[in-house]
């Protein structure tokens, strides 16, 4: 990560990524942000040399469980991640130089049978990170907190906001 000059900070614009969506930016003066991850995962992709950044907000682990439903690729980790990787490469990023950070996957109190989306998402991301040989630089997952994140496309920092707590950088 590199220091942000004050002048640069003033020029930064923010692009919002909705649930079940992704955005790519080749503009260094951009924040890619997504609100309230809950049990979803927010995954940032960043090629520092080329300053190409991407952010995916996926809700569920696998599209295979929802066959026949009218759904979007980016709702699921197993269909969303390859799509973002392909879009990053199309935008000029090199996969071998991409660093990935993962956020969210909040979990409700211990229960064996219900409301385990957070845990399922984290398990699936771990599996996919190995399958796609992702260089995962930060895991800010699980816990009982709702995270809002912003990827700084100037330096790859991710600013994390949790209700009633101060922001921090990963």
């Amino acid at each position: 990560m590199s220091e942000m000059p004050e002048l640069v900070e003033e020029q930064m614009r923010t692009v919002i990524v909705g649930v079940a969506d992704f955005k790519i930016s080749t503009d260094a003066l951009t924040y890619l942000a997504t609100y309230a991850l809950g049990s979803c995962l927010g995954i940032t992709f960043y090629d520092e040399k080329r300053r190409v950044g991407g952010l995916l907000h996926a809700m569920l682990p696998s599209a295979k469980l929802h066959k026949g439903q009218k759904v979007r690729d980016c709702m699921f980790l197993d269909t969303g991640i390859p799509r973002v990787l392909a879009a990053m490469v199309r935008a000029g990023a090199k996969k071998s130089e991409m660093r990935v950070k993962v956020f969210g996957g909040a979990q409700l109190m211990a229960t064996d049978n219900f409301f385990r989306i957070g845990a399922k998402n984290i398990d699936m991301f771990y599996k996919l990170s190995q399958e796609f040989e992702l260089d995962v630089a930060a895991w800010e997952v699980s816990g009982r907190v709702n995270r809002t994140i912003r990827l700084n496309n100037f330096n790859g920092d991710v600013i994390v906001k949790i209700p009633a707590r101060p922001e921090f950088i990963r």
């Binding site: 990524v17 909705g18 809950g38 049978n113 209700p163 009633a164």
Partner: protein, 289 residues
């Protein structure tokens, strides 16, 4: 604050629960002239927790009530008529909106409305598939299920900070911390508000028991369990969830008894999310166009 008079203070301070002002212009347009579209009015009102609450409360007030109680927004719209509806909305919407982040819960303005709307949409979807309750009743119950927290936030008690600081180290659930710090919990506030406003008993049961549906009266347990399930699914979706959100304890016995299955709830999420995204923009704004 641990006395009953503090509980009364919370109730007194929330004579009018704040609503999202964004819907006022649309509501005004709909109620102009003599040919208001009542179906559209119903939809608009149903999207806002505070407004839906006030409309139902007014429809069941001594002035408007007849022998039959209004249990849905559709009934209330018919009973009140467009002009009265607009008056209620305008009175409720102006000047009472939380325009600052809320201490303790860490809510941004509008968060509880966003979350309640998600619970309502989940409840409506699950009602259609499980037949545990009428879908309109379920939707309304979802909107009003957590009004006590709204009231506590509106009263802006410093004790909310203490509650936040004691979860999870001293208390596993937010409710336990509320009971320890305040001497009462937000569910009790919800119950009193709904009672004062003349809500039917099944809604009062939802407000008071939604965190522990096994303890709800048998005749209301299906609806209460439906809201319990919807609350947890909506919490996982994240919209408007504050510091309190994930510190609640799923009632597995009640969920199993009502026939809920985890895989079926997960399977419903894509459709639920599509409905939510019709009304909440990626920026988190409520969108009523």
């Amino acid at each position: 604050m641990k006395s009953a008079s503090d509980l009364q203070t919370v109730v007194e301070m929330t004579r009018s629960i704040p609503c999202a002002p964004a819907i006022l212009p649309k509501l005004l347009k709909l109620t102009e002239g003599s040919s208001a579209d009542l179906g559209e009015l119903e939809m608009l009102i149903s999207l806002d927790t505070g407004l839906a609450t006030n409309v139902l409360r007014t429809a069941n007030s001594a002035y408007f009530a007849n022998t039959q109680r209004c249990e849905s927004i559709a009934d209330a719209v018919l009973r009140l008529g467009s002009k009265t509806l607009y008056r209620i909305a305008a009175t409720t919407l102006t000047g009472r909106w939380l325009v600052h982040p809320v201490r303790g819960y860490g809510w941004e303005p509008g968060d509880l409305c966003r979350h309640s709307l998600c619970v309502a949409i989940c409840a409506e979807a699950f009602a259609k598939t499980t037949h545990l309750a009428d879908s309109s009743t379920a939707y309304t119950a979802g909107l009003i299920h957590d009004l006590g927290k709204f009231a506590l936030a509106y009263a802006n008690f410093s004790a909310l900070d203490e509650i936040a600081s004691r979860v999870p180290d001293d208390y596993l659930t937010w409710r336990d911390a509320e009971l320890a710090v305040l001497g009462f919990d937000s569910a009790e506030v919800t119950k009193i508000l709904l009672q004062n406003w003349g809500f039917p008993q099944n809604f009062i049961s939802v407000g008071f028991f939604y965190q522990k549906p096994s303890e709800a009266p048998e005749e209301d347990r299906n609806l209460v369990t439906l809201i319990h399930a919807s609350k947890h699914v909506a919490t996982q979706l994240g919209y408007g969830v504050g510091a309190d959100g994930f510190y609640c304890d799923p009632d597995e016995a009640a969920l199993e008894a009502a026939g809920f299955r985890d895989d079926e709830m997960d399977a419903a999420i894509p459709e639920i999310l599509a409905t939510i995204q019709r009304f909440i923009t990626p920026e988190g704004e409520l969108n009523f166009r």
